[in-house]
């Protein structure tokens, strides 16, 4: 412990004359009572100039997906976007590929010879269509609304204050809504406290992905993504083609078994092709849920509703005689065409664009999490600054009772800090804040199991998540600490380095005296 402190001390007080710039990483091992830590040093570069300059002058600029504030995973340099929990998606993929693979390997040769070679061809087409639409649904942006820039957020707050008056009763002001009349129906637009915008009609905040999504249908764990405006048609095509594929495989495997059992007997036929038995079982259990789901979504498309609206009964006549769906075009055909063949809007979040230094960054979420990477858009970042931040972070984590007044500074998603999976911090050590990285590396080890994953047996039974009405997504702070949603974490300002220095020193002194 004392060695570590000395190491931090050395890092902090690197004399200006020293030419090497040190970069250090550290890891925290959870569950070990003594909080043993390793400190690794790796020298980046030697420079004759002052170490306050970044060693990587031509440091590559960050892409927007790297500083994306939502809880998404990005792959292929931002081209692929998925939710954080993708385990069930892989299960879906495995089930489809294995079942189809078994069908093509064991049943198709017999069927092609006995009946017609068109069977494997049609099966192949269906299978590729299913895979294509599944991947398209899972990998595309569902229609995420980017969060408001600080200027926008401030402007909205001002307007809301003018509208509500300046009375502030209670800890949190009442939920903010705006009423709008659409085709004769009064629709309430809710204010999203996380994204700091008034949600457009039909948009909703997905608590799992922590994004507002346009025309939010539901979050589908089987697909590993939200289903929204931009990928609803792919989702529908997926479940429709999967229904056809399931029925197709089921029917032809049964045919195969029946034809074989005419020659050999039922039990011999089953013994000869055990794969067929597996396929029948999988298909039998899948067909009910998938066909049911396809039927349900066909109804939704025909009436131009989202799953969300249907579950809530937003346009149900039970609410009132005058209640009707203002978005419906009147007839089923137009509704279907609009949903499936309408124009496909482009992604609003520009994942692969570069973060420009003068671009206004979105306002940080007010649930006590600072997007460090989003604010620190300057390309020059001194490693000494990182040193100071890491030190501050560790001091905070280790000596919270001593440093209760300090605000934890969240680390940027920086390539020079590879240990960020550990930086998530154990819940017990960080009552003040849970740092959430802008990218999706699963770093919160104490995350509770998602409720939707408790239904693995029922394929196609979607966990219909009603959109989060609360200002901040409930249960997303894994240790459930209500951090005071009005906490606005201070941005790290390079100009306040000196104060950080002082704080760190103070912290060090306190620690060393323990």
């Amino acid at each position: 412990m004392s060695q570590l402190i000395l190491a931090y001390y050395n890092c902090l007080y690197t004399p200006i004359s020293r030419s090497a710039v040190w970069n250090f990483t550290q890891r925290m091992h959870f569950g070990i009572a003594e909080h043993m830590r390793e400190c690794e040093y790796s020298q980046i570069s030697t420079r004759s100039s002052t170490p306050m300059e970044s060693p990587h002058k031509r440091r590559t600029m960050k892409k927007k997906w790297q500083v994306f504030p939502g809880r998404n995973k990005f792959y292929c340099d931002g081209r692929i976007m998925m939710a954080r929990q993708t385990g069930v998606f892989y299960l879906t993929l495995v089930l489809i590929v294995v079942t189809s693979g078994l069908f093509f390997t064991f049943d198709c040769p017999f069927l092609a010879n006995t009946l017609t070679p068109a069977i494997p061809v049609i099966g192949g087409v269906l299978f590729s269509f299913v895979l294509g639409t599944l991947l398209r649904t899972s990998f595309s942006d569902p229609g995420v609304l980017p969060r408001a820039t600080p200027d926008e957020a401030a402007d909205l707050e001002r307007q809301i204050d003018i509208a509500n008056g300046s009375s502030s009763t209670g800890y949190r002001p009442p939920p903010r809504t705006r009423e709008v009349t659409i085709n004769g129906q009064t629709v309430k637009l809710k204010y999203c406290f996380t994204c700091k915008i008034f949600r457009p009609p039909r948009a909703s905040h997905c608590s799992l992905c922590d994004n507002c999504v346009e025309r939010f249908d539901h979050h589908c764990p089987w697909v590993g993504n939200c289903v929204g405006k931009r990928n609803y048609r792919f989702f529908y095509m997926f479940i429709l083609s999967l229904s056809f594929l399931t029925i197709f495989i089921f029917a032809f495997v049964i045919t195969h078994i029946i034809m074989q059992s005419h020659k050999k007997g039922f039990l011999t036929a089953l013994k000869d092709s055990p794969a067929s038995v597996l396929e029948v079982v999988v298909c039998f259990f899948s067909v009910w849920s998938i066909v049911g789901l396809s039927g349900f979504h066909t109804y939704l498309i025909g009436s131009n509703q989202t799953t969300n609206e249907d579950i809530k009964g937003s346009w149900s006549t039970k609410r009132g005689k005058e209640n009707y769906n203002p978005y419906s075009y009147g007839n089923i055909f137009t509704n279907c065409c609009a949903a499936l063949c309408g124009p496909l809007p482009p992604s609003l979040i520009d994942r692969r664009g570069f973060v420009l230094p003068d671009t206004p960054q979105p306002a940080p979420p007010t649930n006590g999490i600072t997007m460090y990477g989003a604010t620190q858009s300057q390309t020059h970042m001194c490693d000494q600054d990182q040193c100071i931040q890491s030190t501050k972070f560790i001091l905070q984590a280790a000596a919270t009772p001593l440093l209760q007044s300090e605000q934890p500074v969240v680390m940027a998603d920086d390539s020079s800090l590879p240990g960020r999976t550990a930086i998530g911090g154990p819940c017990t050590l960080l009552p003040l804040g849970q740092p959430t990285p802008p990218t999706s590396t699963p770093n919160l080890s104490c995350e509770p199991e998602m409720p939707h994953q408790s239904h693995p047996a029922t394929e196609g039974h979607h966990h219909f998540l009603t959109p989060d009405e609360a200002p901040s997504p409930p249960g997303m702070l894994p240790c459930g600490s209500p951090l005071g949603h009005s906490h606005t974490m201070p941005f790290y300002n390079p100009a306040s380095q000196d104060s950080l220095h002082e704080d760190s020193v103070r912290g060090l002194v306190k620690l060393s005296s323990v």
Binding site: E152, V180, V187, L340, C341, P343, P346
Partner: protein, 158 residues
Amino acid sequence: MATLFHNLQDLRHTASLATKVFIQRDYSEGTLCRFHTKFPAELDSRIERTLFEETIKTLNNYYAEAEKIGGRSYLEGCLACASAYIIFLCMETRYEKVLKKISTYIQEQNEKIYAPRGLLITDPIERGMRVIEISIFEDRSSSESSSSSSTTSSSSAR
């Protein structure tokens, strides 16, 4: 204040950002992209009402064109579905084409109308299609006395 800026370059070099005005989305016709045409009070002394409304109406028309559901969009949708959406690797969607037109239009408006009046419109796509952001610039090169006198005169005028 009647300071003239000759072009966008002048604007950026000599001006400092005073404030921003946000034109919000108008949802009265559903989820289609439309912006309010109401003239904001902050722009009262800066630009003529008719020019502003003209710009917003043209933008609204462009967005309506992009989101129009008709024969052409159906054809595009069906063709894309039939080709398993591979066609979008080679071809731009109609929406994207219209967005490019909008960008060109906004740039042209900025150069001809807004920059000479010390204003700058930001393309809504850069703000997630939530708002049209109009930045109001003050001329930095003008002395403090002139800006303070203008504020006192404007406050006395109200």
